[in-house]
């Protein structure tokens, strides 16, 4: 399943670069190469492969957005990379376990939640792409700071809880 995900991720982000034509369309080859490497890593079961794959494709998507490539393809690519990363880690976790009880239920619930989350993420991301709210530079910095502080608070509280 994760192989299909890798191919989909590569296609989405690659198409985003190629369909953007004007410039840097050659990056499509880089995306294809990265996809191939991720596939090989996945096939060999390399430790850290899914993480490297996710970070690489998210970075490629961000670069595409920066270069003005169609953001919708990059969004599709990001969601596909996220799903692939999740599926890959889930499969590895199951493979490492000696015995799995209620495996069908376990997989079904995981897929349902993942599909719902990916769908919602795609929908909200698409809406965010379509909506343009003009705000001043100061407003943008303020909102950004609020987001960073909120996220830091969430991370910090979970870290304290974990300790």
């Amino acid at each position: 399943m994760s192989r299909i995900g890798i191919i989909a991720t590569t296609l989405f982000i690659g198409l985003g670069y190629v369909l953007g034509f004007e410039r840097y369309w050659q990056m499509g080859f880089v995306v294809a190469g990265a996809g191939l490497l991720w596939l090989i890593g996945e096939r060999k079961g390399r430790t850290g492969g899914p993480e490297v794959g996710l970070v690489t494709f998210v970075a490629l998507a961000a670069l595409g957005v920066y270069w003005g490539k169609p953001a919708i393809w990059m969004l599709f690519g990001t969601v596909a990379a996220l799903v692939t990363w999740d599926v890959s880690l889930f499969s590895r976790r199951l493979a490492l376990t000696g015995r799995i009880e209620n495996e069908t239920d376990l997989r079904r619930v995981h897929w349902q939640r993942l599909a719902a989350t990916a769908g919602l993420g795609l929908l909200l991301g698409g809406l965010a792409l379509g909506v343009a709210i003009p705000i001043s530079f100061g407003g943008a910095v303020g909102l950004g700071l609020v987001a960073v502080v909120s996220l830091s608070w969430v991370v910090g509280s979970f870290r304290r809880k974990g300790n």
């Binding site: 996710l54 920066y66 015995r99 909200l124 965010a128 530079f137 943008a140 910095v141 991370v155």
Partner: protein
């Protein structure tokens, strides 16, 4: 919180930073699916697990070929757990032959789950302590791990070889009847001598021939009394006296001999104690019967070799643990300096029997067959023969055991009858 959570947080930070720096809203849109994913994981994060665990073992003692079945049951007393990973900590020296020592499952409130596996182990004591339970959300971003205490233990006892007889004759005998000739007249089986009739002697004991010679007096036969004796088994657990060939150790043969001899002596009604002489002194107080046999077997099951500077030589053998004139059985491959200490023991009045697993034969099997090795083996064997001659000269019984032969065979030849000895 796991590393996955940190990775996703970093990605979100990066998108937010990129959006702010470039003032491009599309970066924020790319962060949205990741935020939703993180939010969903937060929403379904599991509560602290409330689990109960119980463990049962099919045996608390086993032989090396006997598998032990471990059954672990976990009951959920708290909220439903979307993903529960149970891992039982199994000693690395145990070999799982069937089943798995853990499982991944979902567990609703009030439900129980059970996993069963079979293990096979070498001689030793195996302890189980806790089952590790890790509860995580469906995405594996938040997890909480608890160790559920479920202690249990079992022994893998050494292989027990049955011996027909192990003849010993220490000078000191006990009060209770047994199977060892006591050098005293009285009720028994073997003829001991003739004495004058005393009131109460059974009529069938009357020696008619002796009585016929002296018509004025009645003579009766006397038999040799058979009593129990004190036996101290000493197992040499010094690492320097051991030989390792691959995964095999000569020490295991010493353990096997000790188990067989302990069983035989206890079966004869004797009082047997066990001393493991290695890194430290491990003493199993002398006793009788099946309970003592179990104690000795458990002690042998746990026996390990060690290096202790104090116990490098046999001179610190705690002889005060053994009653004077009792029987000491030393099981050791023997080191060159051991002869003097054994002779001292003999001089103090102990009867000493040495069972010596042959380290030369044991090591020889892995060495190439060439002239140098043959010569080296001959020299080593000559040194060993010299050591044995020295011991035998001091009236110490020595049994050389080439471990390629089964112990019962060697014991049958060397221990079934007593050699002639003075004193």
């Amino acid at each position: 919180m796991t590393n996955k959570f940190m990775l996703l947080s970093l990605i979100i930070y990066a998108f937010l930073a990129a959006g702010l720096i470039t003032r491009n809203g599309a970066f924020l849109a790319l962060a949205v699916p990741v935020i939703v994913y993180l939010g969903a994981a937060l929403l379904f994060a599991p509560a602290a697990p409330q689990l109960r665990v119980s463990r049962t073992l099919s045996h608390d003692r086993a032989t090396p070929e006997q598998p032990v079945t471990v059954t672990v049951t976990v009951t959920n007393d708290g909220a439903s757990l979307p993903e529960l990973m149970l891992v039982d900590a199994v000693s690395p020296t145990l070999h799982i032959i069937e089943g798995a020592a853990g499982l991944l499952t979902t567990l609703d409130s009030g439900e129980s789950v059970e996993f069963i596996y079979q293990v096979l182990g070498k001689r030793g004591l195996y302890r189980f302590s806790a089952v590790s339970a890790t509860v995580s959300d469906q995405f594996g971003l938040f997890s909480s791990q608890v160790d559920l205490s479920a202690p249990a233990q079992f022994f893998v006892l050494p292989e027990l070889v049955k011996l027909r007889r192990a003849a010993i004759r220490p000078r000191r005998v006990g009060l209770y009847s047994g199977q060892i000739s006591a050098r005293q007249g009285g009720p028994g089986v073997e003829f001991f001598g003739v004495r004058e009739y005393q009131p109460g002697d059974p009529v069938r004991w009357i020696n008619s021939r002796a009585t016929a010679r002296y018509p004025q007096t009645l003579f009766v036969n006397e038999f040799e009394q058979e009593r129990m004796v004190d036996v101290g088994i000493v197992v040499d657990a010094r690492r320097q006296s051991d030989v390792q060939v691959g995964s095999e150790s000569l020490f295991e043969y010493s353990i096997q001999a000790a188990a067989a001899l302990a069983e035989t002596f206890l079966g004869g009604g004797n009082r047997v104690g066990l001393l493991l002489y290695g890194r430290s002194i491990n003493w199993t107080f002398p006793g009788y019967g099946k309970v003592q046999q179990e104690r000795i077997m458990r002690s042998l099951a746990q026996a390990e070799q060690g290096v202790g500077e104090v116990f490098e030589r046999l001179e610190h053998l705690p002889t005060w643990l053994f009653p004077l004139h009792s029987q000491i059985v030393l099981i050791s491959p023997l080191l060159p300096g051991d002869a003097e200490e054994l002779i001292k023991l003999r001089a103090r009045g102990y009867r000493v029997l040495v069972i010596s697993p042959n380290p030369i034969d044991f090591e020889r099997q892995t060495l190439p067959d060439n002239n140098q090795v043959t010569l080296a083996v001959r020299i080593a064997q000559a040194e060993r023969d010299l050591l044995f001659r020295k011991l035998r000269h001091a009236q110490i019984r020595v049994v050389d055991w080439p471990v390629a032969l089964p112990f019962y065979q060697v014991a049958h030849t060397a221990l079934s009858r007593l050699p002639w000895q003075r004193g």
